[in-house]
Amino acid sequence: MGAIKENSDDEMDEKVKKYLRGEAANLEGLKDKKLKGQLAVREDLYGKSAKTAAKIEKWLLPSEGGYLEAEGIEKTWRIKQESIAREVDILSSRNQYDIVLPELGPYTLDFTSNGRYMAAAGRKGHLAIVDMKTLNLIKEIQVRETVRDVAYLHNELFFAAAQKKYPYIYNRDGTELHCLKEHGAVLRLQFLKNHFLLASINKFGQLRYQDVTMGEMIGNFRTGLGRTDVMQVNPYNGVVALGHSSGTVTMWKPTSAVPLVKMLSHPGPISSLAFHPNGHVMATSGRENKIKIWDLRKFEVIQTLPCHAKTLNFSQKGLLAAGTGSFIQILADFSGSQNYSSYMTHSMAKGYQVGKVVFRPYEDVLGIGHSMGWSSILIPGSGEPNFDSWVANPFETSKQRREKEVHSLLDKLPPETIMLDPTKVGTVRAPPKKEKPTKKEIEAEMEAAIETAKDTDFKKKTKGRNKPSKRATKRREMINRAKRPFLEQRTQEHETSRKKHKLNPETEMPKSLQRFVRQKAT
C-alpha cells in the first residue's frame, strides 16, 4: 500500500513539475521586503494552480490514450495492420485504407491542426481536400501543372499549393485566391500558426516569410547554401529549420538575414528533418542511412539509429515515423529518456515509394503519401487523446471556427517573438558590461562635441560690443571648453600609465641594477 502510494506521489510530482513550467524564482537576494512578500504570495499561487492542474489531468480528462502491448514472445514490431484492424472497433478500422491513384504522381499530405481535414496534392496537379471524420471528398481540382507541396493556413478554409512557377492560395471551394509571385518556384511551404506567417524555400535557396493576414513580405533571405527541399518548422518556438546538401542544418527567424544556428549534422546531404512537439528534440536523417536524435538545448546528439529514412515525422506523443522505399518504421521511447527503439513497422506493396509521412493530430493514425496515392494506417498510442476546445477542436462547428479565427487573429504574434528560447519574453535582460570606449570612439566623441560647440549661436550684442574679433575669441573659447574634458582625460591616462610604469620597475630592471630601485616606504 505504501509502495503504491509512493508511486502515485512520484507521478503527481512529475505532473506538477510539468505544470509549473520551470523553476521558482530565487527570492533570497531581494532586499525590498514589500516586493519579496508579493512575489512569495505569487509563487505560492503558482504552486497551487500547478497542483490543481495535475489533479485535473489525473481525474477529469475524458479519454485515455491508445496502446499496443505484445503478449508472450510476440514483438510489437511484428504485428501487422490487419491483426490490429481485427481487434479494434469498426470506426477505427475505417481509418486504415489505401487510396490508389497511380497516374497523378507522388502525393504529399497536410492535415489541419485539429486533424479533421486533409489536403492531398499529387505531383501532376491533383489537389484534393478530404474531411477525415466522414471520409468525404470535399473538393478536388486539377491545376494542370506540377504541384510540389501543399500546406494548410490557419484553418480548413485556406490552403497554399506550391505549383510550378509560384505558390497559389486556394479556398475550400477550389477558387484561386492569391498568386504569390514574389516567392518564385517554391519547393516547400510551411505555415507558422501563431504568427500567421507562410514560410517558403524556393529553387534558388531563398527563404521567404509572408504575413498572410496583411500580405506583407516580412523576410526574404538568400540562404547561400544552395537548393534544398528539406524544411520544417519547430512548433515550440517558431524557427524554421532547413537541411542542406552539405549536411548542415540551419535555423532561421524572420528578422535576421543570418541563420540563428548552423550545425553540421551529417557527412552527406540531409534527407529529412523532424521536430518533437516539445521543441527540445530534433531528428535528422542523412543519406548514410543514419537517423540522429538531437537535444536542441545543448545541440548534442542523444542517439544515433541505423535506419533508412527519406521522411521523418514526430507524433503528438513523441513517436517517430521514418519512411523509406515502401517500408515505414515507427520508433518510440518507452522509458521517457529519449532512447528510441523500434515500436511498429509497416510494409506497403512493393513499388510504392513513400513520399511523406504525417501523423494525424489527436488520432492514432499515420497518413502516408506515396507514389501511387496515399494510405492511412493505425499506430496505437501516437495521438493525444484529450483535446482542448480552445486550442484545436476536431468537432468544430462553423460558428466555433469563426470565433476561433477572430481570437487567433487578435492573439497574432509579431515576427520579433520568434527566438530560440521562447521563455525569454518578459524576462530581464542582463545589462551589457560597459566596455571602455576605444580610441576611435573617444576621438569621435571629441569631434562631435567640437561640432556642437561650433554650431552654438551667440547673443547679438549692440552698442559697439559686437566686434568680430571678440566674436572669434568667444568661439575659440567655446571650442576649447568643449575639448577640455577629453584632453584632461588623456593627460590623466598618461599620468596613470607613467605612474604604473614607475611603480613596478622591478619587472624591467636587470638584476644587477636591482639594488638601485627605490623602495616603497613600508
Partner: protein
C-alpha cells in the same frame, strides 16, 4: 496482443439539440500550447490599449449650488444619495443616478463647514460658520416621500447655537455622539443642546475631525498648528499628538485596517500613519502639485481618493507611493471635498465651481450588469496586463495620462527642485566626514516631534 486505439464517438463530443450548450473540453497540458509567454504579452498589450480606448471616467456633473461646495456627506444606508453643503449655507441632497437635487435643507446663515450623517441614516448633522449646529431628519421614509417633489425644503429637527464658528463635524460609528471641530473639540449628544464634553490641547483651531470606524471612542483631529491629535473619549483626555512641518487639511481612517489613517497635507503629499506608532509615517503618497484638500477611503480599504487645490482628483492605492489615476476637467476648479461611494464604484468630487462631479473609480469599467463571462474576461485581461506592465511597450501605454499643462509644468518644476536638493545633500555628504550627516527617510522627515 492488447491493443486500443483512440476512438471518439461523435455523440459524446457534440450537442444533441440546438438548444443545448456546446460542450467544451479542456486540457491544460503546456505541450499543447506553444509560445505561451509571447501570446500573453500580446494580450497584455492589447488589453492596455483597449483599456485606454474605453477609459471614460466622467459620468456627469450635478449642478445647482450657487457657491463653492465645501463639504459632503454619505448616507451609509442609502447608496444613491449624497449630501453637499456650500458656502452660502445651502445644503442639498442629491440622487446620483439622475443627478438631480432631491431635497434642500435651507437654514444656515453663513457657510456650511461640515456635514455628517449618523450611522443609522436617520440624522444629518451640519455645522457652519454661523456658530450653529443643525440636526435634520433624513430617515428613509422622509426621503421616499420627497422623491415625488423636487426642491422640497425640510425643516431642521434641532438647532444648537454655541460660542464660536465650527470648522468640521463627524459622527461616531455605532453611537449617538458627534464631535465638532472649531476653536476646541466638542462632543455632543443628539438630544442635548450643549456639548457633553470639550477637549482642548494647544491654542490653535482644529480644522478637521474623524472618528475611528473600528474603535468608536477614538477620534483623530488636525489643527492649524500643523499637528494631528488623537483623542480617546473614554479617558476624557487627548491621547497623542504628532506635529508635522505643514498643516494637515483632512484625515481619513482606513475602514478595513482601523489602526491606520491617512492625512492629506498642505505640502502636496498624503501621509499614512499607524495610530499606534506615530513617530514614522507608514507610507508617503506623492503626486499632487498643490495642497491636498480632502481625502476619503474606499470601503474596500485598498484605495483612497484625494482632491487637491491643483484642480485634480487622484486615486491612490493604500500602500502605493504614486497615484494610480488622475481625473481633471477644464471646468473643474479647486477641489475641496471628495467622497468614495459606498459600493466602491464611484468617486464624487465637490469643487470651487459650484458643481459636484461624479466619476467612475475604475475609468474603463463597464457599468451596469456584467455577465459572468464578461466579468471573467475583464479579470483575465486585468491580470495579464498586470503581469507584463513592467515591459516598456506596455508600461508606456498603461502609464500614459494626459495632464493639464499647468499641472504638468508644476510637476516638472517640483521634480527639478527635489532633484536639486537631493544632489546638494549627496554632495554635502560626500564631502564631509562619513556619518556626520544623516539623511532621514522621507517617512520621518516631515515629522517634527511626537508628544504624549
Amino acid at each position: 496482443m492488447k491493443v486500443k486505439v483512440i476512438s471518439r464517438s461523435t455523440d459524446e463530443f457534440t450537442r444533441e439539440r440546438s438548444q443545448d450548450l456546446q460542450r467544451v473540453f479542456r486540457n491544460f497540458d503546456p505541450s499543447l500550447r506553444s509560445q505561451e509567454k509571447a501570446v500573453e504579452y500580446v494580450r497584455a498589450l492589447n488589453a492596455a490599449k483597449l483599456d485606454k480606448i474605453f477609459a471614460r471616467p466622467f459620468i456627469g456633473a450635478m449642478d445647482g449650488h450657487r457657491d463653492s461646495i465645501k463639504c459632503m456627506a454619505k448616507n451609509p444606508n442609502y447608496l444613491k444619495a449624497i449630501f453637499s453643503g456650500s458656502d452660502d449655507g445651502d445644503i442639498r441632497l442629491w440622487d446620483m443616478a439622475s443627478r438631480r437635487t432631491v431635497c434642500q435643507f435651507p437654514g444656515h446663515q453663513g457657510a456650511v463647514q461640515g456635514l455628517t450623517v449618523s450611522t443609522d441614516g436617520s440624522i444629518l448633522v451640519s455645522c457652519g460658520s454661523d456658530c450653529t449646529v443643525r440636526l435634520w431628519n433624513v430617515s428613509d421614509a422622509n426621503l421616499a416621500d420627497s422623491d415625488n417633489l423636487s426642491d422640497n425644503s425640510a425643516k431642521p429637527q434641532a438647532v444648537y447655537v454655541w460660542k464660536n464658528a465650527f470648522r468640521a463635524v463627524d459622527h461616531q460609528w455605532d453611537g449617538d455622539l458627534f464631535a465638532t471641530a472649531g476653536a476646541q473639540v466638542d462632543i455632543w449628544n443628539h438630544n442635548r443642546s450643549q456639548p457633553v464634553n470639550t477637549f482642548d490641547w494647544g491654542s490653535d483651531t482644529t480644522i478637521s475631525i474623524r472618528f475611528n470606524p473600528g474603535e468608536p471612542n477614538i477620534l483623530a483631529t488636525s489643527a492649524n498648528d500643523r499637528s494631528i491629535t488623537l483623542y480617546d473619549l473614554r479617558m476624557s483626555s487627548p491621547a497623542r499628538k504628532v506635529i508635522m512641518r505643514t498643516k494637515t487639511n483632512s484625515i481619513a481612517w482606513n475602514p478595513m485596517e482601523p489602526m491606520n489613517f491617512t492625512a492629506a497635507n498642505e505640502d502636496c503629499n498624503c501621509y499614512s500613519y499607524d495610530a499606534r506608532k506615530l513617530e514614522e509615517a507608514k507610507c508617503v503618497h506623492k503626486d499632487h502639485v498643490s495642497a491636498v484638500m480632502d481625502i476619503d477611503f474606499s470601503p474596500t480599504g485598498r484605495e483612497f481618493v484625494t482632491g487637491s487645490y491643483d484642480r485634480t482628483v487622484r486615486i491612490f492605492q493604500y500602500n502605493g507611493g504614486h497615484s494610480r489615476e488622475i481625473y481633471h476637467t477644464k471646468r473643474m476648479q479647486r477641489v475641496f471635498c471628495v467622497k468614495y461611494s459606498c459600493d466602491a464604484s464611484y468617486v464624487i468630487s465637490g469643487s470651487d465651481d459650484t458643481n459636484l462631479r461624479l466619476w467612475k473609480a475604475k475609468a474603463s469599467e463597464q457599468l451596469g450588469v456584467v455577465l459572468p463571462r464578461e466579468r471573467k474576461k475583464h479579470e483575465y485581461l486585468e491580470a495579464v496586463k498586470n503581469r507584463y506592465k513592467h515591459l516598456p511597450e506596455v508600461k508606456r501605454i498603461v502609464r500614459h495620462r494626459h495632464l493639464p499643462k499647468p499641472v504638468y509644468k508644476a510637476a516638472n518644476l517640483r521634480r527639478t527642485m527635489i532633484e536639486a536638493e537631493r544632489r546638494k545633500e549627496q554632495r554635502r555628504k560626500a564631502h564631509s566626514a562619513p556619518g556626520s550627516i544623516v539623511t532621514e527617510p522621507v517617512r520621518k522627515r516631515r515629522i517634527i516631534k511626537e508628544v504624549e
